[in-house]
């Protein structure tokens, strides 16, 4: 019941988010073009829910995550978190807001300061937000956090290079949890890990979600990873969301040819299922100079003339299943 109630509350709403990177050239370093890394992305996440965001590398999914947290400044759009417009907060207010939204990074090797001990790393958010009254309390909290993510508390004085990738990612998770956040953006948290470890970390994240009633934006480049953890899934291509639907709906009834192609790449354990693998032609186009019309058309096996001229809009095809494709409109 509680879940049903929670579903009705939008914790995060992203409206028409844009992040363009200028391309400078020439003697005067003028901006000659923009890389539209995120180009009008809109979605929402309900409280307690996990939204998976999937796409090939370079599609702008990580940029979306960073822009929501204002690790990058957005070019346009709105990010509404718990009713507040995050993008309009000033520096001080933003720092306060960061308590509620955290991030877990992709690379467990690069995301931990090599010159700080684990204890210091996990304690840092406590210090920044003054979440402990004294050293003793801080220590206790750090120990408790470490145990929560499955690390031995007596490793507190060790340095990151003494840990394995999976353990490091747990440290990163503990650090994110330290501020007691409501939303965690997991930016490809397992893509750098061995497959055997991946499941452990995903399980941990799921356990923690229940324990701390967390909301996740889970970013991955692979549908198989988000399958287990997500409630809904968005598919991104070239800075845009091309399809967004409930997990089951998306897997069973993919509408967009790109989603179909991605799905066809997942190995299915069921031998009965006859797999028709769709191989995408060509590479992801240069984001500085994206194709006119539907950005996917050069690689789309079913592209028509209209696809080359008009960009399709993201439309609701029932049951909260959004997709943007001209083929569906017929």
């Amino acid at each position: 019941m509680a879940e049903v109630l929670a579903e009705e509350r939008k914790l995060l709403e992203v409206k028409n988010l844009k992040k363009y990177f200028p391309v400078k050239a020439g003697i005067l370093r003028k901006t000659v073009a923009y890389v539209k890394a995120v180009d009008g992305v809109s979605f929402h996440i309900n409280e307690g829910e996990t939204l998976g965001l999937v796409g090939e590398s370079g599609c702008g999914k990580s940029t979306t995550g960073h822009t929501i947290l204002r690790l990058l400044e957005a070019t346009g759009g709105e990010v509404i978190f718990d009713g507040k417009d995050i993008l309009s907060l000033n520096k001080r207010e933003m720092r306060e807001a960061r308590k509620d939204m955290q991030i877990i990074f992709q690379d467990p090797y690069a995301s931990l300061n090599p010159r700080m001990t684990i204890g210091e790393i996990i304690a840092e958010p406590l210090i920044i937000h003054k979440l402990a009254r004294n050293k003793e309390e801080r220590r206790e909290k750090v120990a408790w956090l470490m145990e929560s993510v499955g690390l031995a508390a007596d490793h507190m004085n060790r340095f990151p290079h003494e840990f394995s990738g999976g353990q490091r990612q747990r440290i990163g998770i503990a650090r994110a949890l330290a501020v007691n956040p409501r939303l965690i953006i997991a930016d490809e948290p397992v893509s750098a890990l061995d497959v055997s470890i991946q499941a452990q970390v995903i399980n941990l994240l799921q356990d923690l979600q229940k324990k701390f009633s967390l909301t996740y934006l889970f970013i991955a480049h692979d549908l198989s990873v988000v399958k287990h953890i997500s409630d809904r899934i968005g598919v991104m291509y070239l800075g845009k969301i091309v399809e967004l639907a409930d997990k089951d709906e998306l897997f069973n009834n993919p509408l967009h040819p790109y989603t179909k192609a991605l799905l066809s790449a997942i190995p299915i354990p069921d031998p009965e299922y006859k797999k028709e693998r769709i191989i995408l032609k060509g590479d992801v186009p240069n984001p500085v100079n994206p194709p006119q019309g539907c950005p996917f058309h050069p690689r789309c096996p079913m592209a028509k003339d209209i696809c080359k001229q008009v960009a399709p809009e993201l439309k609701d095809y029932g049951n909260g299943h959004f997709a943007s494709c001209h083929l569906l409109e017929e």
Partner: protein
């Protein structure tokens, strides 16, 4: 890597141990200078007492165990008190210019944009003035003296540190752990001090330790040009420059005045050598690929 580990490795490396030993001995000489070479006038201990006014240097004797240099300045006294000068010039100049370099380099790289542009152009401007010109003009304006000489040295010695620091910070700034700290809501100051500087400082430390030695040489060149420490001040560089007109020897004996060059020369070389050995060892230790 941890500090304790670095220190441990520093001690394990034999060659750097030699450097460390020399520095420690010199530091002891500096500390106990008033007992090793009691000043004639305690109010101005840094001025080498003169044993007369003759220009010809006098060889080592009972009264002057290292001899006297041009103008009859006692070499032993100058060497002992010069140790203090060397440390002072080294620490103050290298310390201050490294600090300036770190601050400017970090600000420039961390904030980027027009701040970076301005700071780097200022750095360019300072680099475009030949050091000797700058030092001469500055000492002319400020007046001769050790403080003014150090100010001149600091003013034109920070640029390479700033550039080094900038390139270091630029490479660290994009790292995920810095992003992580920002996501946690850490302030700029905290990010700079706790995350950025801590991860960029070591090459700067290596550079600084090597600079410790060469700055004393630079100071001696200033003395050679007549703009260094005041004449008669206990300063190795100046003592060598006193030897300038006697190095090539007396009549029929090319080595007649060897002591005016060899003794202060050895002091400078040992000082410079030790800091360089320590710096070299530092670099070998800190470079993870050397492990």
């Amino acid at each position: 890597m941890e500090w304790r580990e670095i220190v441990y490795k520093l001690f394990k490396n034999k060659i750097s141990l030699v450097g460390l030993a020399i520095i420690i001995i010199m530091a002891l000489v500096a500390i106990f200078a008033p007992w090793i070479a009691p000043p004639r006038n305690p109010a101005e201990p840094y001025y080498i007492p003169r044993a007369g006014w003759m220009s010809e240097p006098q060889p080592p004797s009972r009264d002057h165990i290292f001899g006297t240099t041009e103008g009859q300045y006692d070499i032993f006294y100058g060497i002992v008190w010069g140790t203090r000068t060397a440390f002072m010039i080294g620490f103050v100049v290298v310390g201050a210019s490294t600090l300036i370099g770190i601050i400017l380099g970090t600000i420039s790289a961390y904030y980027g944009g027009w701040i970076d542009e301005i700071i780097m152009r200022i750095t360019d401007i300072f680099m475009s003035i030949p050091f000797t010109i700058a030092a001469i003009v500055m000492t002319t304006i400020l007046g001769r003296g050790i403080t003014n000489m150090m100010i001149a040295l600091i003013t034109f010695n920070w640029m390479s540190t700033a550039r080094l620091m900038r390139s270091q910070v630029l490479s660290v700034k994009g790292e995920e752990f810095v992003q992580a700290a920002r996501a946690l809501g850490a302030s700029d100051l905290r990010i700079i001090f706790k995350h950025v500087i801590l991860n960029t400082i070591f090459p700067v430390v290596v550079q600084a330790s090597m600079n410790m030695g060469s700055i004393v040489i630079t100071a001696s060149t200033l003395s050679f040009l007549g703009i260094g420490t005041p004449e008669g001040y206990a300063d190795w560089g100046q003592m060598i420059s006193f030897a300038r007109n006697w190095i090539i020897g007396g009549q029929g004996n090319a080595l007649k005045y060897w002591f005016t060059v060899v003794i202060p020369g050895t002091a400078i070389t040992l000082f410079c050598l030790s800091w360089n050995l320590i710096g070299d060892a530092f670099r070998d230790i800190l470079d993870p690929k050397m492990q």
